[in-house]
């Protein structure tokens, strides 16, 4: 609509000299193709998320009774129950606990490993480096049974540590790959200059080196967080009651009265929030992270 008005004013200005603009106006209102495609894309992208939020604010009756595009009767009961019912909110606490433990573990072990891969040549370094990545290719289901057996034997079963350690299996290799890429972007001469200046290695690493790869650490931490947060199979296999993650809680909501759709949707919305928050912080570096720091 605004487009046609703009063309109209242009016509008036050009009226004396040219007819090109007039001809264009005769062809009908101009459609901004880019905007249409973009809008459609965003609508498709946001639709499931909107539907989730939509459902979480409805009552179960409204959800099951028919199609409504927005809640006829907004209710926050679902959210209130999650925040007050211990069996629900402890799921979030458990999940966050093992995710944070896992992220801290992964980064603190990956940092020295990535430094070694980036700076030193040693026997079998290239093979080892590739082998790390192949760990990511194995389906977690393969490891679920051995982990279950091992953790039961040593008393780690049903603790946040069990899940955090199990997730290290695929998060440490990923973090090593990402951090190695970022570290290799820092010239080796900086390390040497620091040594010449008299920095001890730990001091150099913390004071000079880590600030240089800060964005890499952020991206690696983000990926560890995300993968650990969304992983369900190992998390569910290795916990029962005390460390039950939120995703497992969500799959056990079938009650006598059937599925509790509203609760599930509300829990789903709350599960998206931490990821969205973390993404916000590293949004400028994610592309580089996906390229394993090699951009």
């Amino acid at each position: 609509m605004t487009d046609t008005i703009a063309i109209g004013t242009a016509d008036r200005k050009d009226a004396k000299t040219g007819t090109v603009a007039a001809n264009r106006a005769l062809a009908g209102p101009r459609v901004n193709g880019k905007a249409v495609v973009m809008t459609l894309y965003l609508v498709f992208l946001m639709l499931p998320i909107y539907w989730l939020v939509n459902m979480s604010l409805k009552t179960n009756t409204e959800i099951t009774s028919g199609l409504t595009l927005w809640p006829r009767q907004i209710t926050f009961d679902n959210y209130i129950r999650i925040f007050t019912d211990q069996s629900w909110y402890s799921g979030y606490i458990n999940s966050l606990t093992y995710v944070v433990i896992n992220t801290v573990l992964s980064i603190s072990f990956a940092l020295p490993a990535a430094y070694a891969f980036s700076r030193y040549r040693f026997l079998g370094d290239k093979h080892l480096f590739f082998w790390l990545l192949t760990n990511r290719m194995a389906p977690p289901a393969v490891f679920a049974l051995p982990f279950f057996n091992l953790y039961s034997a040593i008393g780690l079963f049903d603790t946040p540590w069990a899940v955090a350690l199990a997730h290290c299996l695929f998060n440490i290799p990923l973090a090593v790959w990402i951090l190695e890429g970022f570290m290799s972007g820092v010239p080796r001469e900086i390390d040497e200059t620091a040594a010449i200046d008299g920095y001890s290695f730990p001091r150099f690493f913390v004071k000079i080196f880590m600030p240089l790869i800060a964005s890499g650490i952020g991206v690696a931490a983000f990926f560890c967080f995300m993968f650990s947060w969304v992983e369900l199979l190992l998390a569910r296999t290795l916990t029962t009651v005390n460390a039950k993650p939120i995703a497992a809680t969500m799959t056990r909501t079938i009650s006598a009265s059937g599925m509790d759709w509203g609760m599930l949707a509300a829990a789903g919305v709350l599960t998206i929030v931490p990821g969205a928050l973390v993404i916000w912080f590293v949004r400028n570096y994610i592309a580089k992270g996906f390229a394993l720091g090699r951009v």
Partner: protein, 362 residues
């Protein structure tokens, strides 16, 4: 302090980077490592600094073996060809960093940083991050950091190679002056013979990981021990021509002969290689007993006030550096003249057989 390299060699895999180098660098001296790319300048510096351990041989400081000593515990400073600074620190903190590690007092650090900044004209930029500076300023920052440390051994690895011409000239003048007062051993690596001559001091010519000659710069230039050293210390490349001496006459393979007097008369008959620098080869007879070499012009490069004329003389490529602008058509025949007094005469093994030292100075 005295730095002694005692039969130091460095092998990486099957490749020899440095082969059996022995050097003695005296306190307060300026030493130039001159050699082409990959001749081992950087490798040698890394051995001096202790960044790499030699495969064999020893490094001695004041007679004490420091071969296995960690870099942190040595008194060295180094400036790289690339501009290496700590990107997350300001220029001030960059310069101050070795002093902070050494645990000096705040006042002392401030005084030394200010002094270095003043010497290297960095005062207006102390609060900036290095990456927001020009290349020259970044390299000045690196040099200032090397300076404040007051190290016993200062290593500069082609510090000016990545700078533009004007800055290079300016910094080259300043550098020896800036470091002279410190009494440190000053080692400067360069690929350019001109730079070595401008810096003075001592020069070590490097070729394929070997120090072929070490001595005061003018002497190395005028009296190269052998063909290799003369080749390294020559830009444009040294002209070489096979020659034979028999019956009191030296004849070049390209044509041209003369009846030697003085130092050249004394050498025995046999096959030699004659070496001479481009600016000694002229296209006009300058009087006296000259070699006259018939040649064909291949290319003439004009630099403004001088012309590099590439000549083909019976399968030999010779370069003549002649004053003024010479418009020479490629393919035209000329006669190149060479004053025999400017010759280096190398024997079959490449060692210097004779050279007129007094004349080489000219």
């Amino acid at each position: 302090m005295t730095l002694v390299l005692d039969n130091v060699s460095k092998k990486v895999g099957a490749e020899t980077h440095i082969g059996k180098v022995s050097l003695t660098l005296e306190r307060g001296s300026l030493n130039v490592l001159l050699g082409a790319t990959l001749s081992g300048k950087t490798s040698l510096m890394r051995l001096m600094a202790g960044l790499d351990a030699p495969t064999s041989g020893r490094v001695l400081v004041d007679g004490k073996d420091v071969t296995g000593c960690a870099v942190q515990r040595r008194s060295i400073a180094m400036v790289y060809q690339q501009f290496i600074n700590y990107p997350s620190f300001t220029v001030y903190e960059n310069i101050a960093s070795p002093l902070r590690v050494a645990g000096l007092s705040r006042d002392e650090i401030h005084a030394r940083v200010q002094e270095a900044a003043r010497l290297l004209k960095l005062e207006p930029y102390l609060d900036r991050k290095p990456l927001n500076l020009s290349g020259g300023q970044q390299q000045r920052t690196a040099i200032a950091r090397a300076l404040v440390k007051r190290a016993d051994l200062v290593l500069l690895d082609e510090p000016l190679a990545n700078l533009d011409y004007k800055l290079r000239e300016e910094l080259r003048e300043e550098l020896p002056r800036v470091f002279a007062a410190s009494g440190a051993i000053f080692v400067y690596a360069t690929t350019e013979p001109t730079e070595a001559l401008l810096l003075g001091g001592n020069t070590a010519t490097l070729f394929q990981g070997q120090v072929t000659q070490f001595g005061p710069t003018p002497r190395v230039y005028r009296q190269p021990h052998d063909l290799v050293s003369a080749g390294v210390f020559s830009d444009p490349p040294l002209n070489t021509v096979a020659a034979r001496k028999s019956a009191g006459v030296i004849a070049l393979s390209t044509g041209g002969e003369f009846r030697p007097t003085g130092v050249f008369a004394g050498v025995p008959d046999g096959d030699y290689t004659v070496g001479f620098r481009a600016h000694h080869l002229g296209l006009e007879p300058s009087g006296g007993d000259l070699f006259a070499i018939p040649a064909t012009v291949s290319v003439a490069e004009i630099t403004g006030s001088e012309s590099f004329v590439h000549l083909d003389a019976s399968e030999r490529r010779l370069i003549a550096l002649v004053p003024g602008v010479k418009r020479l058509e490629p393919g035209s025949d000329v006669t190149a003249y060479l004053d025999p007094r400017h010759l280096f005469l190398f024997d079959g093994t490449g060692r210097l057989a004779a050279a007129d030292v007094a004349q080489q100075a000219a």
